[in-house]
Symmetry: C2
């Protein structure tokens, strides 16, 4: 049997390359006790780490290739939320055994995604144990230009990219173990398997957004983090929430009520879209005067779904309210993914 | 029940502080999608990641406090091996459930160790699953001054810090579940629970060593990495290998032969001492002319245990040979920790 070291060299060695413009920054990647990143005057470095555990974040039915793509994409999404350019990543892989076929497929998925985003594997650790994947991504922004969570101001619009709820519906389809034949079902599955880190939008938002976050735990929970750190509250408008046609169709087929459909879209995670706040002036500049819906340069829809407000002096502690078309409070059945 | 977010804020918030001289570098720590590290002209950043899995890297019997200290220390050891000054770390913690008592003790251990080394928690992820801990550490060296694995030259001495084999004996004592009453047994247990990252020695070696690595998988395997990357081979002298009195006593009590005792010291991991190569001239300068044993400024013994040689043209593929007192090849029963 090949040793751990041989396997790692064999399957992950291709991942040590990266786009030429960033190559000079990586002095040493895999193969020393630490990776070395050169001094980069004028840039701040951003770091994010996420763990995916089998049975919790992904079902057994997922392919090693999809798993690798998903693991890297959800991490890149954190960089996107702050407007960063991804550069490198480390991989801590815990495997129940040494399955060469599995490693080969996993490495291929990682290779595809890292090539797509021009990032390089610079270090890692392989251990034995129940399957889990911890990826740390590193990226850069021009010094002082990262988009934080604490900049939202009363009066700012609340916006989201893409459509909400798709990934959760895709996960349910995956878990149901039936073959997704129809195009709309395959779309939902893809949204779970291959979330698209919104890196271009994130970079553009460096110039315009007052705060941003990526949607991993549901927009109500994630926007709540922006509100807490910006010391404000938010209202969301139920009828403005962007839902895809495949999602709407899926919910109808499952017999979900319209409130269920909305609750799922607002509180289930895994969409990895961006939620951001932006002043009315900045929105006009950013979108060249779009109304409530803007198509970005890459054709990504961005929708205004609510507004930031000052907290009421006699606050209820509720950070994010959802209003129906008559401006009445809607009561959702769940308020976000709980990790425990 | 407190939510995940509340628990994290509660138990890990103190870890967000760090020594004042490094505080300016951390623009944002825990609480955004990414941590932000400011541009630091003149310094390279070093990164290392390690995962510890219950049942593989530590037994159930270990206390949460010891586990935290150990998890951080083994990562800092990678920075020590390259001569870096530690600055910050991220923590990806996978827990079977939400046990407040466990979290409190774990956070205390992490707090103690991070305070001792003046480093700051800048991000993380908490997930549900089988207990495992992935820590990424970050540190700095003056640009271009990291000690690599690829600089060893024929004629260089091979040196190790401290004593070898202690941590493995400590682990065996821990697994035997009997109370360690005697001072020498407690010493061995401590060497497993709290490995000492050799950061001061590592910083000093920036000026003198040609290559360095930390001993996590046994010196034969780890020195093998230096040899492979430096395109050379090494010989180790059995009678020069530094063994502690508690280790020698433990091996005698277990009835191990002297070859077993040596094999364990050279091939079992977890000591987290430094192994480095150094030219004869640099050794004299570094040690002010010590013979084969040097006590560092902190009183840490550093011993010459072998020599780097050019590979033979008809090479056997063996990178590290061990010689007995008659210069005959010794055959060890194992050549290093295999992760699978």
């Amino acid at each position: 049997m090949a040793s751990e070291f041989e396997l790692i060299y064999q399957y992950f060695s291709d991942l040590g390359r990266c786009a030429q413009d960033k190559a000079d920054w990586i002095v040493a990647g895999v193969g020393d006790d630490c990776a070395i990143i050169a001094s980069t005057p004028g840039y701040d470095w951003l770091h994010s780490v996420d763990t995916l555990v089998q049975g919790i974040h992904f079902p057994e039915a997922i392919s090693p290739e999809s798993l690798a793509q998903r693991a890297l994409a959800v991490n890149l999404s954190d960089l996107a939320a702050m407007g960063a350019e991804p550069v490198a990543f480390t991989l801590a892989l815990t495997l129940p055994g040494c399955d060469e076929g599995w490693l080969r497929q996993f490495a291929r998925g990682l290779q595809n995604t890292s090539a797509e985003y021009g990032i390089r594997l610079i270090g890692g650790d392989t251990t034995r144990g129940p399957l889990s994947i911890t990826i740390s991504v590193m990226g850069v922004v021009p010094s002082g230009r990262a988009v934080r969570r604490n900049g939202a101001k009363p009066g700012d619009w609340v916006c989201v990219s893409g459509h909400l709820g798709d990934a959760q519906a895709g996960l349910e389809l995956l878990q149901s173990n039936r073959l997704a034949k129809r195009k709309d079902e395959r779309y939902l599955l893809d949204r779970f398997h291959q979330p698209s880190p919104r890196l271009s939008l994130g970079r553009k938002l460096r110039e315009f957004a007052s705060a941003a976050i990526d949607i991993s735990d549901g927009v109500v929970a994630d926007l709540g983090h922006i509100c807490r750190q910006s010391e404000c509250v938010a209202e969301l408008w139920a009828d403005a929430v962007p839902l895809s046609q495949p999602y709407t169709k899926y919910c109808a087929a499952q017999g979900y009520s319209s409130l269920d459909r909305l609750t799922r879209a607002l509180t289930h995670g895994d969409d990895y879209e961006l939620c951001f706040t932006i002043s009315a002036d900045a929105w006009r500049l950013c979108t060249s005067g779009a109304d409530k819906l803007w198509l970005s340069e890459e054709g990504l829809p961005v929708t205004i779904i609510g507004k930031i407000l000052a907290p009421e002096p006699s606050g209820t502690g509720v950070l994010v309210r959802v209003l129906d078309e008559n401006d009445a409070n809607l009561s959702l059945s769940s308020s976000g993914y709980q990790h425990f």
